[in-house]
Symmetry: C2
Subunit: 237 residues, 2 copies
């Protein structure tokens, strides 16, 4: 990484740093198996995540006022629950299930990679997750963030420019001093349009063994890395 | 600490966690001695800090739009500079001097105490400092915050209730699940009115050897501690 102007790495979290799909499937089998809830947890995870972008679109478009992701996740859960035989759960049980997003597990390389990168750069979450979600996740998973930015700090959901520009401003940096790190080409494209540097991280199993999207970089991102440890090594060169 | 309902400790930072006055004096003598700036750095620190509350009042009262503390500090510096023979400094030099607030040093007990408290509680800065200031300070001083809340997350300066209530909400907690930790009785009084638990930490030298304010707790705060290590021990009982 010849460009020494980068001061902060800003990370997409869901899929890039943590394995949301695997975590939901694991916790589903383990905790909810106790309640004899015998369902296809992979299909459940996919159905829940499928409502992620549409739920934020209503906020992005101004059709509803600012709403944090915990609330959007909860509303989506209410909608999909009947399709998976979960409509017998109490509100309290559904509230707890909703907090599964606070308990997502990092990919095996994430903590080591972030810890290495933190020695040289400010490392910040730039996620659509809310502060409570990201704080609880970081505490449990030991993600060593210097700062948690993104949706709740800017009151804008990615890929709106204000989410990136407001996050850079909150760090007291120019966009060019920030590098967006994500496993999703669309996130990087939006960040690049705002002037951020870009790093693509391969997460070919984020959507399971049959994943077809984001398997490869679709633009000439500044860095392409196999995981966060590989990213740390490439940034160190 | 019999009350097991507390989930998060929210910290005042300037004076409670870091020694702003001593840090300014030290850096003044060390760095600025090189430039033959022979001035009374203690008086300079006090003069700068004296403008702290008035500068925020304009924002609190709605006389000016939301403005981050870095900017308020910079404007105050411009005003006091001529009184200390600093008006010969360039804008770049004054900008750098302004960043002294990003480089404040913790009291000797702060990092150890916070690290102990972090094992049991979510620990968050609830400061009037902006995110860049608090992030840079934490990185340099190794303050292990789980989250940085306060002014920039809520767009309200303490002691306005919205600063406390919005910070609790951002953590997904009720005010009663939060304990405000501060060396200033007024901060605790405002937090208590919002429903927070309260912990007073003695910092009898924050304003130097002649300090006359906040030497003692003025209300029956839930905890009174001699420093942050003492606080960790009291919370552990």
């Amino acid at each position: 990484m010849a460009d020494s102007s980068v001061r902060a790495l800003t990370f997409d979290v869901f899929g890039t740093v943590v394995d949301w799909r695997g975590s939901i499937i694991d916790e589903g089998h383990r905790l909810w198996g106790e309640k004899r809830l015998n369902l296809d947890w992979a299909a459940f995870a996919d159905a829940w995540r499928e409502r992620y972008q549409p739920s934020m679109s209503e906020v992005r478009d101004g059709r509803r006022p600012w709403t944090v992701l915990d609330q959007l996740h909860r509303e989506s859960l209410t909608k999909i629950a009947p399709h998976f035989g979960l409509d017998g759960l109490s509100d309290v049980e559904l509230d707890d299930l909703n907090l599964i997003w606070h308990r997502l597990k990092p990919w095996p390389d994430s903590v080591t990679g972030l810890t290495q990168l933190k020695q040289t750069y400010t490392i910040a979450a730039l996620s659509n997750g809310n502060l409570a979600l990201l704080t609880n996740m970081a505490k449990r998973a030991e993600l060593p963030w210097d700062a948690i930015l993104g949706a709740e700090v800017t009151h804008n959901y990615k890929p709106l420019p204000a989410a990136y520009l407001g996050s850079a401003r909150a760090l007291g940096l120019t966009p060019a001093q920030c590098m967006m790190v994500a496993a999703h080409n669309s996130d990087l494209a939006a960040a690049r349009r705002c002037g951020f540097k870009t790093a693509f991280v391969r997460r070919p199993r984020e959507y399971g063994p049959m994943q077809t999207t984001d398997l490869h970089p679709t633009e000439d991102w500044d860095i392409v890395a196999n995981d966060l440890i590989d990213l740390a090594e490439r940034m160190d060169r």
